[in-house]
Subunit: 445 residues, 2 copies
């Protein structure tokens, strides 16, 4: 509870809901009040009539008895992949046999732009306010994110092999420079370097990425310790396990976010944590692909910068962070053979302030505190599954659906309310996407 | 595809959607047509203008391009427990320390009636048309189900110890007789005997239940091979593992539905399958309680009568069958270390015709075929996660949310449309429930 600035007539209030601040002491207020001025929170605490009275009536947002939380943070996804959703599901080796040839043939800047808008629609409606993305033609994803008013770290995917947006590694760096330009004047999108994985770039290219990212102070997004074949590969070629190998390339530091880390040993985890590296845990994708259950609870209790991610919509198959909450709790309980680990509040932490820490943005987002950006999600409690609520964290983690999200604010602006998006024309986006889904379906035949 | 009877003016049609029949050959029709007369399906096949023309315009239901499937079947739940949802979640031994004392103190016929109505609201809105329930004061659950127009097998919970509705076992049989009376004149609700578990009834009481159920041709619902302590218990007392022990009591046959079976060995599974016993797989509850992943895929591929269940809303914590679909697939893939097992169509099978087989009702429900009861769920494809759809089974299993359900018909009657229930006043039910949730909250302090 704090009251740094007096609210002015231009401020907005969110009231009549239970406020879960997710601050360091997990302050919560049965009847909470948030006051937002421009893009920032100027009051977060119990309802106070004298503050509320100063807000113009049309600037008062009634949470209708719902749960008010920091916006959800998706720490790993591939926005441009939504048009591949449900393709060849359950089939063996689908990424190599179906997806990669499909990407080479069909991924264009236009596809990435519209697929990203479609992905962003799903995320905003489901209460996600920030994501970390990595894909091809990332300047197009950045454009879609900027138009949608969503906060993001946007990574340009880099590989030593030819890909949809680059014939070779050096051309990939050109794409990254274009992305940096596209993000230059945006407060919401941050450009990042995204080397794909230890096995898809040569060591010299990984070292180039590392130097480039250091020179430009860019975040680094990558996949690490995800594949069963990864450890034999790096051991044979470099005499190191994947995590120490990446570290030897200078890729594990306080600007890095490593996705998956399923096969991270205790030693690997210590290294990742000691370097302040962010970890993106992707429970839905990792289970659907039968890869395994990452040691998320071990990361959590050792103090890692641990966030949750949906992975791409071809892997997960949704961009639904709400559904990940319960799965994260349940699969860690199974892994640890203990129903008391990875409790509901801890899970919500990973989805909010934990995700902010994973993206090294905890100074700006992840909790509802004075001075932080106003990234806010309100859950309605009208649906049957949301009653009764003896514990609001349990309700969010074990009962909520993405459709319970009733309001989403990013950077002080309302982007979705009553299940309607304010910044994206979803029907027009779907119509534009049909050109590409038609091409994909034709190629599958 | 079949056309047994000509549609009359009194018939209803559902059109403009993809029809997934879930019949023995998994027939599906991109532009399907269902015709319903009274409570039954009289046509299920491709759209045919000459049939459609005979339906009165006001009896034509536009599925709006959605997916039309058999109503979902929840093969194991405890309707009366919804008011305990989220209570002491993540705490050790919560059933024994919190729930059982709470039930003894507070469970009344009134609580069971209103809690059941609240549970049924959630199930109907989420596309579930049939459930198998077991709890105390089961005549009250039957009453709530009948008022709601939901199909169900309703079990009266039996124990050798004193419970909320019976001081001793013989009194429990009285409750069961009351339930049988309550279901006597209902087409929708079938009374069942529900001995709680191998460890909660003495052998002589289990034998009594078995004889009583055989005499009255009642279904038998129970928990089996669920608890880690169950096997040492029956081995020590009876020299048999739980499944053979139950079999020795005459409880495993073609009227039985056994919930969980997490610890069923290969031999146990063979016995259960050879007896035509139904199996209720409860992935959400079993993972939340860290008990383990039941061998559902092993049951499935061996031809078991396998259905899915939510378990009670204190365990699961929802009655959401849609969310179970993806979890069932993902956790079996993890268990089998193989992304190609428990494919989407197989999962939808367990949630529909498989559930019907588990409840021994496959002659009446579980698929969309001529002569079957008109229990039908329509999923909208309007939400972003439901586009694109290259495989409708994948879309339902990996992408759908319960809020995508746009229409639910049971026994030929519409019970929910456009997310509005036709048979339950949800606001009034919630208001009535507040008396009980207040008592529960007070007792927790």
């Amino acid at each position: 509870m704090n009251d740094r600035t007096a609210a002015t007539d231009g401020s907005t209030a969110i009231y009549n809901g239970m406020l879960l601040t997710m601050d360091a002491s997990f302050h919560q207020y049965d009847q909470g009040l948030l006051i937002i001025e421009d893009s920032s929170i100027t009051y977060a605490g119990p309802f106070r009539q004298e503050l509320f009275s100063r807000i113009a009536p049309e600037q008062r947002i009634d949470a209708e008895g719902g749960l008010i939380i920091p916006g959800l943070i998706n720490t790993h996804t591939h926005l441009g992949m939504s048009l591949f959703r449900s393709l060849a599901d359950d089939s063996a080796d689908r990424l190599r046999k179906v997806l990669i040839p499909m990407e080479k043939a069909l991924v264009t800047p236009q596809l990435v732009y519209y697929a990203s808008l479609h992905s962003i629609s799903e995320m905003l409606l489901g209460g996600t306010t920030t994501c970390a993305d990595m894909y091809f033609f990332a300047d197009q994803s950045a454009r879609a994110l900027q138009e949608s008013g969503m906060r993001a770290v946007v990574g340009s995917s880099l590989s030593s092999a030819a890909g949809p947006d680059a014939a070779e590694f050096s051309e990939g760096l050109e794409r990254l420079r274009e992305l940096m330009q596209a993000c230059e004047h945006s407060d919401l999108t941050t450009a990042a370097a995204a080397p794909h994985a230890p096995y898809s770039l040569e060591r010299e290219d990984l070292l180039s990425v590392s130097r480039f990212a250091a020179d430009h102070r860019l975040p680094v997004l990558s996949h690490l310790a995800e594949m069963p074949f990864e450890e034999p590969y790096t051991l044979e070629r470099y005499g190191l396990r994947p995590v120490p190998f990446y570290d030897s390339c200078g890729l594990i530091d306080d600007r890095s976010v490593m996705a998956h880390c399923i096969f991270a040993s205790e030693e690997d985890r210590k290294l990742l944590i000691s370097r302040s590296c962010g970890i993106a845990h992707n429970v839905s994708a990792n289970s659907k692909s039968a890869k395994g259950i990452a040691p998320a609870y071990e990361f959590y209790r050792a103090g890692a910068r641990l966030g949750l991610g949906t992975d791409g919509p071809m892997s997960g198959n949704t961009l639904d962070m709400v559904h990940l909450l319960g799965m994260t709790a349940k699969l860690q309980k199974l892994k640890e053979h203990d129903a008391t680990v990875m409790q509901a509040r801890a899970v919500l932490e990973t989805a909010t302030i934990g995700g902010a820490r994973a993206l090294h943005m905890e100074d700006r987002i992840g909790s509802l505190e004075v001075g932080k950006k106003a990234d806010i999600t309100v859950f309605s409690v009208a649906s049957p599954a949301m009653f009764p609520i003896y514990d609001p964290y349990s309700a969010l983690v074990y009962s909520a659906s993405p459709s319970d999200v009733s309001l989403v604010m990013i950077d002080g602006k309302i982007v979705s309310s009553q299940r309607r998006l304010h910044t994206i024309d979803t029907a027009a986006v779907r119509e534009a996407c049909r050109t590409f889904t038609g091409q994909i379906a034709a190629k599958m035949l």
